[in-house]
């Protein structure tokens, strides 16, 4: 069966300071695990001249300083590290519980999602809050998690016209993906709820609650609980 995983890493030139390394051509657990493992190993062994390593669904971007290293050295290093992958233990993922107040003014599209799939709003909430989602990658805005594992019964296309303002904490669906907006931004996802938790706090020593590879579990809460948690977070 086609696993989507490449036999050999595929290198792409991303300008004079970027090397893009592809490990597969699909969004799936196996490919993403390989990417994340390579990101971990890169962090442990940080080859000279590497400024930053950015893992995404199926590729890794290596940002490098051309006055310290070059493409040939980097490629060799990456291949060498890939051979040692079996030595690497991926740290067990954390599961982060995120309280969400579904529907109402926080989830203006939940009824559309329900109608599209012939479900009740209650069923949408249940289907959305049941699974533990894998964070495939973080990007788009600070801390925005792209989550895999959304029930097929909830796959809903993006809004035809994106909103110019989506409040922070909003939980949305776009096709087979679900995610949360940690900062307010424009956005085209179907909004089904909002979390009172501060997902991104640049003033904290660790500004984020999770990273790629962790799991997220949504917990439905009432409006009263939302208000209480929202106030607590303000402190």
């Amino acid at each position: 069966m086609h696993s989507g995983l490449f036999e050999r890493a595929f290198f792409r030139i991303a300008g004079d300071q970027g090397l893009l390394v592809e490990y597969g051509d699909e969004i799936n657990l196996e490919v993403n695990t390989k990417v994340r493992t390579m990101a971990i190993i890169m962090k442990q062994y940080t080859p000279k001249g590497v400024i930053e390593t950015i893992p995404t669904y199926r590729s890794l971007l290596i940002v490098y300083d051309p006055s310290i290293t070059n493409l040939a050295k980097l490629q060799k290093e990456l291949q060498r590290l890939e051979e040692r992958l079996y030595e690497i233990q991926i740290p067990p993922p954390d599961t982060i519980e995120i309280p969400v107040c579904y529907g109402g003014e926080f989830g203006p599209d939940i009824e559309f999602v329900a109608e599209t799939h012939d479900l009740s709003v209650k069923e949408v909430i249940q289907l959305h809050s049941e699974p533990e989602y894998l964070i495939y990658m973080v990007g788009f805005t600070p801390g925005f998690p792209f989550l895999g594992g959304l029930s097929e019964k909830l796959h809903t296309s993006r809004l035809e016209t994106p909103r110019t303002f989506v409040p922070k904490g909003s939980v949305g669906i776009a096709n087979n993906q679900t995610g949360i907006y940690p900062v307010s931004s424009p956005g085209g996802w179907q909004l089904i709820g909002r979390s009172p938790i501060k997902l991104f706090a640049p003033e904290r020593p660790n500004p984020f609650l999770y990273q790629a590879g962790d799991h997220i579990k949504f917990k439905p809460i009432t409006l009263e609980e939302y208000s209480r948690l929202d106030k607590e977070d303000e402190k």
Binding site: A14, G15, Q17, D25, T56, S59, V63, S67, Q211
Partner: protein, 314 residues
């Protein structure tokens, strides 16, 4: 120490340094100055370390009241500038004292100017950098562009004995028609004729040009028959030239981390300052270079900057 009071903020003035590295995997873009050459020059002129934070000024400049005895320097775009109503020049250190009014006017040539103050602009470091990322409301001065009455602090002033001046033959020109060099990739294999199109056509900078990216207008760039127009989202580099659904190129800059469109070429880092100084209506032509050429240009540029720094500090 209070150094500058913003009397009027200008069109879009932010605090920037070299950028915020290490958090792109968390969706935090590098931010930082768009024209690194002019930024380094401004810091050299006032005797600062090369990463001291400065003001990045866009199109219309601010009017500032000086609150301390210090040196300042303005580089980059030519904007027209007065100190207490007397014209003063860019690309040289200026001695200022409390009560002075520095009025930076409007661009005559270029797009972005850099104002450095002795000791550097002092704002709290957020995640390792003083750069403003306005989209995420973080860094810089309260995470936003400057506003009227903002009070800007600076680090410890070290007055120089000699007023430094940038060698005039080294001051970049910002013509209305620019050539920027680019390396094919990362998705050059998605294009064939498209590569000929981008390297042989003139593109105009559209009104949608900011720190996130420059949208260009010109001949459409088509992906190869049968190739997908979008790809699995992946990280982007400043300088990546993305081809979205409307087939008009966008030069991605410093406030973007991931994207799902193909990138046909990547502007070399040495030429990013030229993009930073282009304004809507300017013409851009891409010139193909190899990675090897780009790296030797990078080394030359680095040597040049070091030479200028040594020369100015003599």
């Amino acid at each position: 120490m209070d150094a500058l009071l913003i009397v009027t903020p200008g069109a879009y003035t932010t605090v920037q340094d070299k950028g915020r590295y290490g958090y792109q995997q968390m969706g935090v873009p590098v931010s930082g100055v768009l024209d690194a050459f002019a930024f380094y020059a401004a810091n050299m002129l006032v005797g600062n370390p090369d990463n001291a934070a400065a003001l990045e000024i866009t199109i219309v400049g601010p009017c500032l009241e000086i609150l301390t005895d210090t040196h300042i320097a303005v580089t980059g775009a030519e904007m027209g500038m007065t100190l207490n109503d007397q014209p003063v020049q860019g690309w040289k250190a200026i001695r200022v004292k409390p009560g002075d009014i520095l009025d930076i006017q409007q661009v005559k040539s270029g797009c972005r100017a850099y104002l450095a103050v002795s000791g550097g602009i002092d704002v709290p470091q957020v995640m390792g950098s003083r750069s403003t990322y306005a989209g995420g409301k973080l860094g810089g001065y309260k995470g936003r562009p400057l506003q009227e009455r903002d009070m800007i602090q600076c680090g410890e002033t070290k007055l120089l004995t000699k007023l430094r001046q940038f060698p005039s033959d080294m001051i970049p020109q910002y013509p209305l028609e620019i050539v920027i060099r680019a390396i094919p990739g990362p998705q050059n294999d998605f294009f064939h004729e498209g590569l000929d199109t981008i390297f042989q056509s003139d593109y105009m900078v559209s009104a949608k040009a900011d720190r996130m990216g420059y949208r260009l207008q010109g001949p459409k760039i088509k992906v190869l028959e049968g190739m997908p127009k979008s790809i699995i989202s992946e990280p982007t580099m400043p300088g990546g030239v993305q081809i979205p659904a409307d087939e008009q190129p966008i030069i991605l800059l410093v406030e973007q981390t991931v994207g799902g469109y193909t990138k046909i070429v990547t502007v070399i880092s040495t030429d990013l300052p030229k993009v930073a100084q282009a304004t809507p209506g300017d013409t851009i032509r891409f010139e193909k270079v190899t990675l090897g050429q780009a790296h030797s240009l990078y080394h030359d540029q680095k040597k040049l900057i070091q030479m200028l720094a040594d020369q100015l500090s003599e």
